[in-house]
Symmetry: C2
Subunit: 456 residues, 2 copies
């Protein structure tokens, strides 16, 4: 008994070691590819410079669909197809704002928030500065009516993770206008979602919630520096006025597409692992980090799963449409998967920028986190740690339907909100090797999931 136990133990141990070696060699090959042959930096250059920003429904978004289709084909996918998605169409027009104080006009930098209505005429009104939700209610209709509400809620610099700060503040951007309207405000402006002390405003999505107010008022972001200026002046001149104009158009939804590539699984062709990012971007900058990076990292996985490691399960590379202002791509993708009763194993999203690698987040569902953390020694040489986390906007509808574990690629986030949703989110601000290392991390992680996670 004892002998056979030892033999069995020795056998298992040597199997484990040789498996580990094999995995470690594969991971090294994947990284070697990304660091020496990857197309992701050149692809990002094309997407940013030849197509540019690409809000859902725009001509550029349509061009990006075509480009993604062709690039996935060229990368060697078994099949590439377009999945129709109806997307909202919102168009930005002119916008400006001036602080009027002592009969002088001081221009401030603003950008309409996505989905904002127009102001129709120039609005001139006093400003009520709000530092938190409770304050709005406390100040009340009497003092807010016919004024402009200024949500001046800054990122907390003490948070180490800037994503945490974003999470704490973004509700003011997303739903602030409806709350301001509830108390009779004419418009609302929101401090930009950033710690970066400059004059570049950060746009982003907002929604009108009819349950809060039936009134739709214009909503704009003001730059960090201008928010500081306005707040300082309000302290000195509480009666100052803000002049504000914004011109936007919401048009009928149009047909757009998720672009999907597949590498057929050799053992389980009907089981799917999804790797994705979003193809659309805001209509400023070039959508380089958000989310050109995620798109080109995902597309390069096609090469990995065709040439370096043939997967057991079918790998789907998805360039989702309309993450920024509707999430229609993610919703359609999950709905179609449900309709076809597909078997999904997991999904990973890269939508946190192309910065230097730190973490792969995975959630605890069906034991994936525990399993994946046992791979940490393999990922340590690549500066990657598998941690509790996971998820992503586009893949979140999959979770609701299939309750599969979700994963996310999480690069360093200190610089992300400097650029996020601004004119500065351009190709030049993406670092070649950091982008490539991220691509390596995602493909290597999915290789391990494909080999060892059944999700049964």
């Amino acid at each position: 008994m004892k002998t056979s136990f030892i033999i069995l133990f020795t056998f298992s141990l040597s199997t484990l070691i040789s498996q580990n070696n094999e995995d470690s060699i594969l991971i090294r090959k994947i990284y070697d590819y990304f660091l020496t042959e990857s197309k992701c930096y050149d692809n990002l250059h094309y997407l940013c410079k030849k197509i540019g920003h690409r809000l859902s429904g725009s001509d550029a978004a349509q061009k990006a669909v075509q480009w993604a289709y062709e690039t996935m084909k060229k990368a060697g996918a078994d099949t590439v197809y377009l999945q129709p998605v109806k997307v909202p169409v919102w168009k930005r027009g002119k916008a400006f704002a001036n602080i009027i104080v002592d009969n002088k006009k001081l221009p401030v930098n603003v950008l309409a928030l996505g989905n904002s209505v127009s102001s129709n005429n120039t609005i001139v009104a006093e400003v009520v500065e709000i530092k938190n939700e409770q304050e709005l209610e406390k100040i009340g209709t009497e003092k807010i009516k016919d004024k402009i509400v200024f949500f001046n809620v800054a990122f907390n610099p003490k948070n180490i993770s800037t994503s945490q700060s974003y999470g704490e503040c973004v509700k003011y951007r997303y739903i602030g206008a409806s709350y301001a309207a509830k108390y009779g405000a004419k418009a609302c402006i929101v401090r930009s979602m950033t710690l970066s002390h400059n004059k570049s405003p950060h746009t982003g999505n907002m929604q009108y919630d009819e349950k809060i107010s039936s009134q739709k008022i214009p909503a704009l972001a003001i730059s960090y520096q201008d928010a500081d200026t306005l707040s300082t002046l309000l302290n000195k001149y509480p009666q100052l006025k803000l002049e504000l104009y914004t011109e936007n158009a919401t048009q009928d939804s149009v047909l757009s597409y998720n672009v999907i590539a597949e590498i057929k699984g050799k053992k389980y062709p009907n089981r799917y692992i999804t790797i994705g990012g979003h193809l659309d971007s805001w209509d400023v900058g070039e959508g380089a980090h958000d989310d050109g990076a995620g798109i080109v990292q995902s597309i390069d996985a096609i090469y990995v799963f065709k040439k370096i490691y043939r997967p057991n399960n079918t790998i789907r590379i998805v360039a989702f449409m309309n993450e920024e202002n509707g999430l229609m791509g993610g919703k359609v993708y999950a709905r179609e998967a449900a309709k076809k009763q597909e078997k999904h194993i997991t999904a990973i999203e890269s939508d946190a920028g192309g910065f230097t690698p730190r973490y792969i987040g995975t959630d605890t569902t069906n034991g994936l986190l525990k399993l994946a953390q046992s791979w940490n020694p393999l990922f340590k040489p690549y500066y990657i740690e598998i941690v509790k986390g996971g998820g992503g906007a586009d893949i979140s509808p999959l979770k609701k339907i299939f309750n599969i574990p979700l994963c996310s690629y999480e690069p360093d986030n200190q610089r992300y909100f400097d650029l996020h949703h601004t004119k500065d989110d351009v190709f030049e601000n993406v670092h070649k090797r950091e982008l490539e290392l991220g691509g390596g991390a995602i493909s290597a992680f999915v290789m391990m999931v494909d080999k060892y996670f059944m999700n049964d």
Copy 2:
């Protein structure tokens, strides 16, 4: 027995937990200071923009000494003093190079390496491209004599750590000229120590080794792109010539200084922990990452150890002089410590740039690594991991004398060698929060060392 064991166990556990809590609160306070009140970014701005680059022996280096002295005073140190250090003086003059092929001149970007002699006249000679040490010997005197040796050894992009690549290649820069001279070369040029595909050459120190050759020939760095161009042209036109000129001067050593601040230890005033970086820089750019970052992070530790946590041991903040081309500051510091028979506990250096935090490296001497790694859970929320490593040029002479464990602050290194020793190492390329987070990591780590490591 059982009961008292449980009581003892419970007591120890609760002591441990409350200690952990106290430490965790202190670490949080240190980071809060760095992220909201720290002077390090403003200090770096002054050092870079008002003083600029500051090679040992230059007027700017002298100004930097004065500035460091005053800044340390202002930060609240108990004592600040200058430690005299004789430093070499090397001065860069004009330099240029042209590839001559088909009777045309193609200018390439070069920078003399620090300590290089002048070419006196313009050198025009054929070029021998060398890919590794062995090749030099194989090619031999016959084919090298009177030619220019071109050390074209590129960073290996497959290395995840760029510091590793630097370690593999820097010998060609440091000692290549003497090897080339041994085989009769007239001059040598070295591919810049970088993965960054641009036209900016990277300078750095070189030495002539009389044991290898008594001949001193000019040594220059050529930019990454120009190295590629030269290599490609050499393939097509092996007889092409390089025209090369460099004008430099080595002058008599002059007196300069380490700048040292002390916060007196409340329990052990005669035991020392050193925190440092180097005040000198290369004579291009502004020495922002190398090593303005380390200097301002170290100076801010003064505030921490005066206002947030009073240390048991005396904390020495040292702005070392002459790291780049002589290490005289580090040598004098250790020699003086030995002379006075000081008791040193450990030393930490920040000289790897002001990028986003990753690691504190410590060596294994006297059990510091093992102890420090038990603190990892406390550092995890700050994206810092304590790993095996440690050391730094300026503190290395301390090791030789006292055999104390050495530590290093190790931020992310993907971008470091893009800027290292070039005109691009300027203030604008340092990210405020990344710099501050580094400062927090260093001070928090030293606080823990001060509390728990006796080095007895």
